[in-house]
């Protein structure tokens, strides 16, 4: 049984990825496949909701590094929201808050797309 799951939903033409469980070097390729599929099918406004993610290792952060530039070049973005303090610490230690929109709530992430 996998200890990491991804659900995808759509809300007002924005794709939302709900991550749950433990994201590490073993399953980061599952996230990469899902994200890559979305981007290649033309979905460039993406919100990732971390509410139910208990753990993230740098392999998980690497997935967001690999695609953000391509998405932004096409005027889309990947916005990150609802991280626990533990998960946020990892993004913070690696300097993500300067380069990514990381919001407390999902609605704030949506507002940033509409701003």
């Amino acid at each position: 049984m996998s200890n990491f799951t991804i659900e995808i939903r759509e809300d007002r033409s924005i794709k939302v990825l709900d991550l749950a469980g433990y994201l590490d070097a073993h399953n980061s390729n599952e996230l990469e496949e899902k994200l890559s599929e979305l981007i290649h099918s033309g979905h460039l406004k993406i919100v990732v909701n971390f509410k139910n993610l208990n753990y993230i290792a740098s392999a998980g952060l690497g997935v967001f590094m690999a695609y953000i530039e391509d998405v932004r070049e096409k005027e889309g973005d990947i916005k990150l929201c609802e991280m626990s303090d533990k998960v946020y610490t990892v993004f913070d230690l690696l300097g993500f808050p300067v380069l990514y929109d990381i919001t407390r709530t999902e609605s704030e992430a949506f507002e940033k797309f509409n701003a």
Binding site: D24, H26, A57, G62, D70, L99
Partner: protein, 139 residues
């Protein structure tokens, strides 16, 4: 006082087992949840590097993780007999540049150094050893 070790095949499937082993021992030593998380993550990153880089994803190889606690500090030693690792090749990562290059990795070592109080590397008898230390007072 505490001294425990596990020996496992070099596969990312075992990262979860390693994290649970580390977390159980760190909790027993008296570390709080936030610090347990940091130690778990640092060990996960170090083992991921062994699996991917020292052993090039060869699951027939083995790595060992041992933990000791002396009442003040927790010491985790990760040992493998894979390719040598050169700590001098480490540079502070530039996330902005990595993003431009669509780079996926290169953050693990920086994370390990940020999360632990002390990090040491050694190579003896054809084995790599990384030692990670966390002091209880620093939580």
């Amino acid at each position: 006082m505490l001294n425990n070790a596990i020996r496992l095949n070099s596969t990312t499937t075992n990262l979860q087992v390693i994290r649970e082993f580390v977390a159980d021992n760190a909790r027993t030593a008296g570390f709080g949840d936030d610090v347990v998380y940091k130690i778990e993550l640092a060990v996960d990153e170090a083992c991921t590097n062994v699996i991917k880089h020292s052993y090039k994803n060869d699951p027939s190889k083995e790595l060992s993780v041992s933990i000791s606690w002396d009442g003040k500090k927790l010491t985790v030693e990760i040992t493998d007999s894979g390719l040598p690792f050169d700590p001098a090749a480490y540079h502070q990562p530039d996330l902005g540049a990595f993003i431009k290059q669509r780079k996926r990795g290169g953050l693990g070592l920086h994370l390990i150094r940020s999360l632990m109080d002390e990090v040491r590397y050694g190579r003896n008898n054809e084995k790599n050893q990384i030692v990670l230390i966390k002091e209880l007072k620093n939580q």
